[in-house]
């Protein structure tokens, strides 16, 4: 019998994965540049500092994605009989927890700054014989870095469903919303500029709560898959339609009376256990193997399939 899990990909997914990897590297390069640019102007604005740290945090999902790729290609072995697909979920969880912890810390920092009425200080810089308020440079840099995440966010959002990759999907989602962070930091700096010192802390709080919320979403999604909730779509929107399709196709076999399925998301691919109640007391091996092959042929994500004849269907399975 050939090995069960899937570690190779069909042509369409291979193309999508190559593109996704390019975009991830592009994101790392782009974000490194923006982190460096912001470092020159970060100054005394809490909102700028928070946006800056958020930029650094956005590198974590990229790195988690690239490291996971090295592992999930490996074929199942005796030691890891399900393959190493779960590495992607672990990376997702690490990214989520990092966002949660650091976002929470930043939120506390901005609230305590507001309560203590700390007035943020932004001085001037002396360039080409002119003394210019540093706040203008902050605004200029932030306007400069707005468009990047918009482009790579939308590109990744198109690839994530093709690959059924939740790390990529969550990352794209955050990138698409990144402009709100940038606008908030500009609002904070301009607030300082017109003497509304509290606007900076309020903008910082807005940004850090956004980070916390991203952390909650990511951790939740990663944990739910790691504790084997039934497989859902890439955006966790609804139970994955493949389960219904598998049950439907199995019940269409003449020798099957009823069927049900238990399907979990390993990260990109699913692990499927199908239960069938046969019409008669005898089942032929070739019928089971044909059913198994048919299910495995339904979608590239469902290669790790077992079909189990049973007298009744377990109630927790989907029929």
């Amino acid at each position: 019998m050939r090995s069960m899990g899937r570690t190779d990909l069909p042509a369409e997914q291979q193309r999508a994965l190559r593109k996704a990897t390019h975009w991830v590297w592009f994101t790392i390069a782009y974000t490194s540049v923006t982190i460096t640019l912001i470092a020159f102007v970060v100054g005394g604005s809490q909102a700028m500092k928070t946006a800056w740290i958020e930029d650094m945090l956005s590198l974590i999902p990229q790195i988690a994605f690239l490291i996971s790729l090295l592992f999930i290609r490996r074929a199942p072995t005796r030691k890891f009989p399900y393959g190493l697909h779960r590495v992607m979920g672990v990376g997702h969880l690490v990214a989520g927890v990092a966002l949660l912890a650091i976002g929470g810390n930043l939120a506390i920092e901005s609230v305590s700054g507001l309560l203590a009425a700390e007035h943020p200080a932004i001085g001037t810089v002396h360039v080409f014989g002119q003394t210019i308020w540093l706040g203008w440079f902050m605004v200029a840099v932030m306007i400069l870095v707005v468009p990047g995440p918009f482009f790579y966010g939308h590109a990744k959002a198109k690839l994530a469903p093709v690959l059924h990759n939740k790390v990529l999907f969550a990352d794209a989602d955050m990138a698409k919303a990144d402009w709100t962070t940038t606008v908030a930091s500009i609002v904070g700096v301009l607030g300082i500029g017109i003497g509304w010192w509290w606007l900076d802390g309020a903008a910082a709080l807005f940004i850090s709560l956004g980070i916390v919320w991203d952390g909650v979403k990511n951790s939740r999604s990663a944990v739910l898959d790691l504790i084997d909730q039934r497989a859902r779509t890439h955006d966790d929107g609804k139970p994955h339609p493949l389960a219904d399709r598998i049950v439907h196709d199995l019940e269409a076999q003449p020798w099957v009376r009823r069927a049900s399925v238990r399907m979990r998301d390993m990260g990109q691919v699913f692990h499927v256990e199908a239960f069938v109640v046969p019409e008669r007391n005898r089942v032929r091996l070739d019928q089971i193997e044909a059913a198994r092959r048919h299910v495995a042929g339904l979608d590239w994500k469902v290669q790790d399939v077992v079909v189990i004849p049973t007298t009744s269907l377990p109630p927790e399975t989907q029929d």
Binding site: G44, E118, H119, P120, A121, I122, G123, T124, V125, H126, T131, W133, G135, W136, A177, T180, V183, A184, I186, V187, L190, G191, I192, G193, I194, G195, W196, W197, F206
Partner: protein
């Protein structure tokens, strides 16, 4: 929330251009108050930079750094009220709103960054002796800091 942020940004852009606001503006209006009024300066004696004779209301402060501040005050048409003390007392004064400016042998490695606005360092200051000398201001009085740094950029080579 996103729309709110965009609207707020737009409102502020209008406020910036339309209402004759200057950027930066002091939250406590210090620069406006000292212009044509009184500049309350705390001086911490430091060899070569700040010298003091006498105490109380009759104190006389001299040296290259006080001379610069007198120039700044003249530009703003302000009288100077000197207070002489140790750095910590003077920083307390800044925080309490009793002082507008603190000078002394303070460098850009100062530990007071959390309690006062710190200007850029001016190593070219007469008497600085290679140290990168900074001045302390009330936290977040950014218009005052801009005005002072602009003045110092013009005076200190």
């Amino acid at each position: 929330m996103r729309v709110g942020a965009a609207v707020l940004a737009a409102v502020m852009a209008v406020a910036l251009t339309g209402c004759g606001l200057t950027v930066p503006t002091d939250p406590e209006g210090t620069l406006d108050r000292i212009t044509g009024g009184e500049l309350r300066v705390g001086a911490s004696p430091s060899a070569g930079l700040v010298a003091t004779i006498g105490e109380g209301a009759d104190v006389e402060v001299s040296g290259p750094l006080p001379a610069l501040i007198e120039g700044f005050a003249a530009e703003r048409e302000a009288r100077i009220a000197w207070t002489v003390g140790g750095e910590e007392e003077l920083v307390d004064g800044l925080e309490a709103g009793d002082l507008d400016l603190v000078i002394g042998g303070i460098t850009d490695a100062t530990p007071w960054v959390d309690r006062a606005s710190v200007t850029r360092g001016y190593p070219g200051l007469p008497g600085a002796d290679g140290r990168s000398i900074v001045l302390l201001l009330p936290l977040g009085e950014n218009a005052l800091q801009s005005a002072l740094e602009t003045f110092l950029d013009g005076e200190v080579k």
